[in-house]
Point group: C2
Chain length 334, copies 2
């Protein structure tokens, strides 16, 4: 047990919870038995779900909670009234070092607010950020912030850059990830003042395990040349959602255009491409900058997607992400 | 001649100029003879190109210019040294009322700077904006600003909203376009302060020919429910380029996945979908807010794309866009 990666799971949030959650844990346990799960939720309900499965029984402990935070609650209202909820308790247990990491498929805003309320920010980090995985030609990049902060300054972007690099190293065992700032052009003079100051600071700082590559434009995010793409929460959120909308628009349009013979003739290759883009593989937004990592699974994902986010949790803990972030802080000297 | 739509064309800028430009004019004249073209560029070169074609000869006048602004020049440097360039002269002639509108496929930054230098801003408009057409499920939306301004305030966004609505009405003969602000969520409390103030102002103002629909998120831009999407130049530029990058990534990946039998079986439907998304149809970014309209064709488009941007110019002039903008200004009342 002492060597296990201990994951505190909000078992009651997200579509089809807790069934999807339990099923996701089962899928994950079939390929990896390194994790131990604290399940926060309705004890009677959860007991029934896991009692018949030996693997689940051995790798799960249920902690009864009385409340659930709903998807459509305002984050502040949820944080105010939700102290007995599965989400709150699954985060709170990190403070007591019961678990290494917390995972929820619930209300993102509430998760961010409750995490910030309960967990201290890492010394030297000004604001935490929400990072996610973005598919590209080669494999995946890390993009952040995706909406944890609307207001931002130069120090915030520097923190996002160093935290993003630490996350990339943790997830993909890379030595020196290529980091770039999202901007409207590549020249040094482009963009707003905060970006220009961040550019100068990143250029002049020598940062361990970090390869600063300047600016990147939106049309090159998926080229696979950059590992960590740094932006403010407003721009990052709009960019991510615009990419999702565009991808949906095109794949739906093409699906309609292909008749069954066409699909049959290219079945294997189409399936391979579909698998490459499968959003379940990119499931798991990581809330970075607090003393304990908190992972958000997409609420609408299925058990396979949830298993992927368990895998993200496992990698983050095993790579000691928080320690990496602490040793990789960027100080402004410009 | 007096009833003609007079278009001043920078005939020397963009890839494959002036051949592409002349070919584009020819294509446009074959379906619409309402336009007359002032071609700014190398007289000898242009004369040779149009001399053998009766239609071109009748509908074009060449004005000799001695210089060309290059694509990789910095906008300010280009504006400083480019007073004898085809781009400068094609914009300058609007001041003298020689033409109704100016069209160039050259350096976007230089075009914006030179236009602002030479043409007065419309009274009541704080900053001009760059608008473009964005494909959606139904047809097209207008999105602005796409990068003319990096710094912005509430008044700018209000101007963009009213100018965008006027452009939509001009291009698509719509009565009351649906307008929304691009944001990271739909609730009134979402987003930064400038957005919230703009929201309040748009909600409380009664604007002619204008249907304010609140916020829109990036993943719904292509749903076709909103006609005019308003954002700041930084966010708009990132969103547009991210959508382009995503579309390229997916279409290339799918193309690779489909073998020739698949393509053969769905040839017609695939071609129809390709046509719907053909970037040449969306060619023509419109610089709004100056006393004269200036249109920017994509530098890399071909003659068909250039003909589309001529069509945009024709519609803008015939609909009297500038008059529409002036009569549709939004004033902040609190």
């Amino acid at each position: 047990m002492s060597n296990k990666v201990k994951i505190a799971i909000d078992a009651m949030s997200g579509e089809n919870a807790p069934e999807k959650i339990i099923e996701g844990i089962k899928i994950s346990l079939n390929s990896n038995k390194e994790n131990f799960f604290y399940l926060y939720g309705d004890e009677n309900l959860l007991k029934k779900k896991i009692s018949e499965n030996k693997l689940l029984n051995e790798h799960c402990e249920i902690i009864n909670t009385k409340d659930i935070i709903l998807d459509d609650e305002s984050p502040l209202a949820a944080a105010k009234r939700g102290k007995e909820s599965s989400m709150w308790k699954a985060i709170e247990c990190l403070k007591e070092k019961k678990a290494h990491i917390s995972l929820s498929a619930g209300n993102t805003g509430a998760l961010l607010v409750i995490s910030r309320l309960l967990l201290p920010t890492i010394d030297g980090i000004s604001k935490p950020a929400l990072a996610a995985l973005w598919p590209n030609k080669n494999y995946m990049s890390v993009v952040l912030d995706l909406g944890a902060n609307i207001e931002f300054n130069e120090k915030n972007l520097l923190d996002f850059a160093s935290m993003g690099a630490s996350l990339f190293i943790s997830l993909f065992e890379s030595d020196s990830p290529k980091v770039a700032l999202l901007n409207v052009g590549l020249e040094e003079t482009k963009g707003h003042d905060i970006l220009k100051k961040t550019y100068t600071a990143l250029k002049s700082n020598k940062i361990k395990n970090f390869n600063f590559c300047g600016y990147i434009e939106g049309n090159h995010i998926m080229d696979g040349d950059i590992d960590v793409i740094v932006t403010d929460g407003f721009t990052g959120n709009v960019a991510l959602k615009t990419a999702e909308g565009t991808a949906n628009f095109i794949t739906k349009g093409l699906k309609k255009s292909l008749n069954k013979f066409s699909i049959l003739f290219s079945y294997k290759a189409l399936r391979k491409f579909k698998e490459k883009l499968d959003p379940r593989k990119y499931n798991g937004a990581i809330f970075l900058g607090l003393e304990n990592p908190v992972v958000k699974s997409h609420g609408g994902t299925d058990s396979i997607g949830f298993a992927h986010s368990i895998n993200v949790c496992n990698k983050i803990v095993k790579a000691d992400l928080i320690k990496k972030i602490k040793s990789n802080l960027i100080t402004v000297d410009g």
